[in-house]
Amino acid sequence: MPHDDHDHPHSLLPSDPALRVKALETILVAKGLVDPAAMAVILETYETKVGPHLGARVVARAWADPRFRALLLKNANAAMAELGVTGRQGEHVVAVENTPGTHNMVVCTLCSCYPWPLLGIPPAWYKSDAYRARAVREPRKVLAEFGVTLPEGQKVRVWDSTAEVRYLVVPMRPEGTEGMDEAALATLVTRDSMIGTGLPLAP
């Protein structure tokens, strides 16, 4: 059933959010519902292991290796698995490639869907009302707020992540990177370039 009792349990908790989370944690730990040691491992995972450096490795491999690029665009999860990139909120990934004709940009207007195994925990702006509301209607104005202006003739395709499919933007390989190896290429691949609100760094 919908949940419209207007007597939401959260109103029973302290109003300061830091105290609210502490109260919930105290209750859940006391009742044997949450193990604080598991919380520590979750945070260690997303603060030290899983982040945009993994997506950057995938993009750099795609830039350097045509076979990998073809696989990534056809079956992204199979390509990611070759680099050991798997997991929660990335079970069904589609990689979309920027071209001179099309710039891709990803949003989740209904909540905050984001490819965690490739990019980690989403930044606050990605979850903001402003981004969720505006990315679909005025993507070029939003891009301008990121300092990005697209060339004439490049259309924008905005992907609204309304299901459990997660999107990775594969930016265009910057000019002047011939001869760079994968590790060096990966340093040019920013988080925002894989969401489509940024472009890769110049070498």
């Binding site: 919908p2 949940h3 939401h8 959260h10 029973l12 908790l13 830091a18 989370v21 502490k22 109260a23 919930l24 209750i27 859940l28 009742k31 949450v34 193990d35 040691a37 598991a38 919380m39 491992v41 979750i42 945070l43 995972t45 603060e47 945009p52 798997t86 997991g87 929660r88 990335g90 079970e91 069904h92 589609v94 949003v107 207007t109 209904l110 909540c111 195994p117 980690g120 925990i121 989403p122 930044p123 606050a124 903001s128 402003a130 981004y131 969720r132 509301a133 505006r134 679909v136 209607r137 070029r140 707020e145 990121f146 395709r157 905005v158 992907w159 609204d160 309304t162 499919v165 925002d192």
Partner: protein, 224 residues
């Protein structure tokens, strides 16, 4: 028909404020705990991702708007715990609880790594045959609504309701959120990515030819 979370295309939210890249993912210490607590409690397996989304969406518009993102998560977590009988209102009000034996499915540290790396696939075998293929023109339901439960969860945003687009990807059958969020089973059905012309959606595109795509279940669609 629609709820406060369904904000795609809304005017008036002001600029997007990008953060420096490479920043730590949590702006405040309690954000870390809110995320870890939500994931650890979710691992008890007492609710689906669809249910948790719906409970977030069912916050009053006033609360949803004034809450920061992780406050929305915390409010929904409190709601889910009470809904499932895992925590009582009295315990929430007291901010403490009598010690209890560990839940049989309590998330232990050794399980975290494998569980996060495995994820939860949402594809299913379905007896619903695909009705569409890439290239087909389809029209979305109008108005956007859950046809099983009045006011229920749906993943068809209001801004895309009643529009004609083109199927560009076919994803096989996925769990159907409109049913699964309400305990009506996973009811898997074919899922597609549909591309819409921005000019059709908004009356006027920023630039002719721009597009918006959405992932839409078969029952949201009819042939056009």
């Amino acid at each position: 028909m629609t709820r406060v979370h369904d904000m795609g295309g809304r005017f008036g939210d002001g600029p997007v404020v990008p953060e420096p890249q490479g920043m730590v993912p949590f702006a405040k210490p309690w954000h870390r705990e809110a995320l870890a607590l939500t994931l650890a409690a979710g691992a008890l397996g007492q609710w689906s991702i669809d249910r948790s989304r719906h409970v977030r969406e069912c916050l009053s518009p006033e609360d949803y708007t004034r809450f920061s993102y992780y406050e929305i998560w915390l409010a929904a977590l409190a709601g889910l715990l009470v809904e499932k009988g895992l925590v009582s209102r009295e315990e929430l009000a007291a901010g403490k609880a009598e010690p209890g034996a560990p839940h049989p499915r309590i998330f232990r540290p050794a399980a975290v790594g494998p569980s996060l790396a495995r994820g939860t696939p949402y594809t299913r075998i379905s007896n619903v045959a695909p009705a569409f293929a890439p290239g087909d023109r389809v029209r979305t339901r109008l108005p956007a609504r859950n046809t099983l439960v009045a006011g229920g969860h749906t993943r068809l945003p209001a801004y895309a309701a009643g529009h004609v687009g083109t199927v560009i990807l076919s994803h096989g059958a996925h769990v159907f959120p409109d049913a699964n969020a309400h305990g009506l089973g996973e009811s898997p059905e074919p899922l597609y990515t549909v591309a819409f012309d921005a000019g059709d959606l908004w009356g006027e595109a920023e630039r002719a030819g721009d597009e918006v795509t959405l992932d839409l279940w078969q029952s949201y669609l009819e042939p056009a």
